[in-house]
């Protein structure tokens, strides 16, 4: 067994430098690597290009990095929950590349799986297709999209073991599996880190080969963006 454990979040994020491209898992605030984001704020790493489906909210998630102006460019599919983001984007302080969500996921998966580019119908005939190669397959138009090329992927899982194997919970899975192994170095933070051999190999969602560093997050706030309930009848 190859041990992937690092002692803490500081060790996990060693080597992240100004100007790097980082992928971060999560959908909204669900399944985001909270501990790593907090550490990036502390490290004051700047000029980051962040690949993440969303940009957090004003005071949590990637919103914390935006507040401190640590992000130069965001590559996302939906950013509607963050007023500071919208302000920085409309004023031109922040570069933004908005791309279809399925394309975002597939560009991660392509990077993970060694596929340099692929064709998708998403965005054909829209401004997303500008400058991209267009081809017809089976009578339908498609545009070519490229795999991402990121320095770090930071993912969050529910359980992990010292070999780097990961298990996700609920919809906190989202982009985390696609980003695992999709960058030069993948860091996984988990709610519960156990010895290799403890998790059932049949239940592993992401094999440890995709993960270089793993640690147990100190605490998880797991903030809910839209708490929606119904009354008991």
């Amino acid at each position: 067994m190859i041990n992937k454990t690092v002692n803490n979040v500081q060790d996990a994020l060693q080597g992240i430098e100004n100007g790097m491209t980082i992928m971060l898992g999560g959908f909204g605030l669900c399944g985001i690597p909270e501990n790593s984001i907090a550490e990036l704020v502390k490290k004051e790493t700047k000029d980051l290009t962040c690949i993440s489906n969303n940009a957090g909210v004003d005071d949590f998630g990637l919103g914390l990095l935006l507040q401190k102006r640590q992000i130069k460019k965001m590559i996302s599919s939906y950013v509607g929950e963050n007023a500071e983001f919208e302000r920085q984007m409309l004023s031109g302080e922040l570069e933004v590349d908005l791309i279809p969500q399925g394309t975002l996921a597939e560009r991660c998966r392509a990077a993970q799986a060694g596929i340099p580019a692929f064709f998708t119908p998403a965005g054909y005939g829209t401004e997303v297709a500008a400058g991209k190669e267009v081809r017809e397959f089976n009578g339908k138009m498609h545009i070519m999209e490229h795999a991402f090329n990121a320095d770090f992927a930071i993912v969050k899982a529910w359980k992990g073991d010292t070999a780097g194997n990961l298990i996700f919970k609920g919809t906190a899975r989202n982009f985390n599996p696609c980003m695992s192994g999709a960058a030069k170095i993948t860091v996984a933070e988990v709610e519960e880190l156990v010895e290799a051999g403890t998790l059932d190999p049949n239940q592993i969602h992401i094999p440890g080969i995709f993960v270089q560093r793993i640690f147990q997050g100190e605490k998880y706030e797991k903030r809910i963006e839209q708490r929606t309930t119904r009354k008991k009848e």
């Binding site: 919208e86 933004v96 394309t103 975002l104 899975r173 696609c178 969602h205 839209q226 929606t228 309930t229």
Partner: protein, 219 residues
């Protein structure tokens, strides 16, 4: 009388068929889940990675790790499954989802849809909408017929940046049900008490009107 949002959702719910897998967008489409016709089984897919979505949780039973694409806390039904984003869009792109219901800012008579950006004013992003409209076989738009300024959202040609081209099949608004045919918008039904003349006056695009236009039946 023009329908309210619930009325639109109830009318769209009549389009659900037995054994359909359905993706519901944010807003009015989300309400459709509350009015599934009796005697049919459908499963709701949410692009953030769940199939078999159930109702909102009871107070105190919310789980931060189980949400829908609108970031609302949800529950799951027996038979539900979770999956990652790449697989979720594999379901969508691979046309395994039978029906997509989503909102729009504009729809044009050739089935183009715009719903993600107002240049210089509002840029929230397309989320999964571009993937959904590019791949779904059956797309129904749920929206208000006119915008807040009173201008028609049913157009000859969209003015806003497009989300997808030639993809919308049907539009349900507070005034009418319209089908998009190779010749343009065809008026199928009108809201209870709303006249054909009122619909024509509220619509920038031309409407194909054949014979008597029946009133919608809203349960």
């Amino acid at each position: 009388m023009a329908l309210d949002k619930i009325g639109i959702a109830k009318r769209i719910a009549q389009e659900l068929k037995d054994r359909y897998f359905v993706n519901l967008g944010i807003g009015i489409p989300t309400l459709v889940a509350n009015y599934i016709p009796e005697g049919i089984d459908v499963e709701f897919q949410s692009e953030n990675g769940v199939l078999g979505m159930g109702a909102f949780p009871f107070e105190g039973e919310e789980d931060a790790d189980i949400i829908n694409a609108g970031k609302q806390t949800i529950t799951t039904l027996p038979g539900a499954s979770f999956f990652d984003s790449a697989m979720s869009f594999g379901m969508i792109r691979g046309q395994h989802v039978d029906l997509t219901i989503l909102g729009a800012m504009e729809v044009s008579e050739n089935g183009d849809i715009a719903n993600w950006k107002i240049p210089g004013k509002m840029v929230k992003g397309m989320g999964g909408a571009m993937d959904l409209v590019a791949s779904a076989e059956n797309i129904i738009v749920a929206m208000m017929h006119v915008n807040k300024a009173g201008e028609s959202k049913i157009l000859k040609k969209c003015t806003l940046p497009l989300t997808g081209v030639g993809c919308v099949k049907k539009v349900v608004t507070e005034l009418a049900v319209m089908e998009i045919t190779p010749k343009g918008f065809k008026l199928l039904e009108r809201a209870p008490g709303v006249t054909v003349e009122h619909i024509i006056a509220s619509t920038e695009a031309d409407l194909i009107i054949e014979g008597e236009i029946p009133e919608m039946i809203i349960g």
